[in-house]
Symmetry: C2
Amino acid sequence: MRVGELAERTGVSERSLRYYEKQGLLTAERTPGGHREFGDWAVDRVIRIQALYAAGLNSTKIATLLPCMRDADGGPSARATERLVAELAQERERIDRLIADLLRSRDVLDEVLEMAAQPRPAATAPASAV
Amino acid sequence: MRVGELAERTGVSERSLRYYEKQGLLTAERTPGGHREFGDWAVDRVIRIQALYAAGLNSTKIATLLPCMRDADGGPSARATERLVAELAQERERIDRLIADLLRSRDVLDEVLEMAAQPRPAATAPASAV
DNA sequence: GTAGAAGTTGACACCGGTGTCAGGTTCAAG
DNA sequence: CTTGAACCTGACACCGGTGTCAACTTCTAC
């Protein structure tokens, strides 16, 4: 498939897909005319890339990380260095903390939404009816 | 307490605390000489602010949101407008998706970390000795 | 062959919370 | 009063994935 289709299937802009390729996160065959040609496996990969970006990893780290994981086509093509392992462990902790923050924030939003959903706030004073 | 202590107690830089105040996220009394004086409630508030930032809300939205929630000193001082409610509902969905991405990314990291923890991959590369 | 959709590269801009430096003021302890 | 730590304001820079525009080429269907 070509960028347009990949963009549509992943929900990621063409701009970003080209950027991913340039960063070495994604590989694409080329037609004789220079158009990118992606395999089906690209869909999963892009989704993973997006998730990693969402988790706060930058393209360099993702590029280092990706070849160390099981791919659609079998085993990993690289082994994580010690340094990378240390970094990833750190990232993992950060992600855990981030998840905690997100849950907390969601609760905050829920509280506001819930209060807004109630017919009447009554007053600033401690309400009688709950 | 003053910024230094608040920074220490929350793990947030003084720079950020001053910025929060400027954005209207945080209020502070002032000493005659102009130094900020925070109450104990500021600690919780800063932590909440951080969580909301981590969740991807910008300062404007946080500033609009904060007065609509229960504070340490009782009920909310403002009621969410319809527009805000709509926005927050949207943010909530985004946060849910983000959490899903984070969990997925954490799994990815775990997979790589686990594989790296194993004594031998015994496959792609004919490793000699480690 | 031809037109229009789709693709290509390159460049510029943005966002916005945070780090950091500079130069000056205030606070509090001796 | 003095002195050093802590604080104040203001300004500059950054990061880096993404949006967007421009100018041009390739693909595909008729």
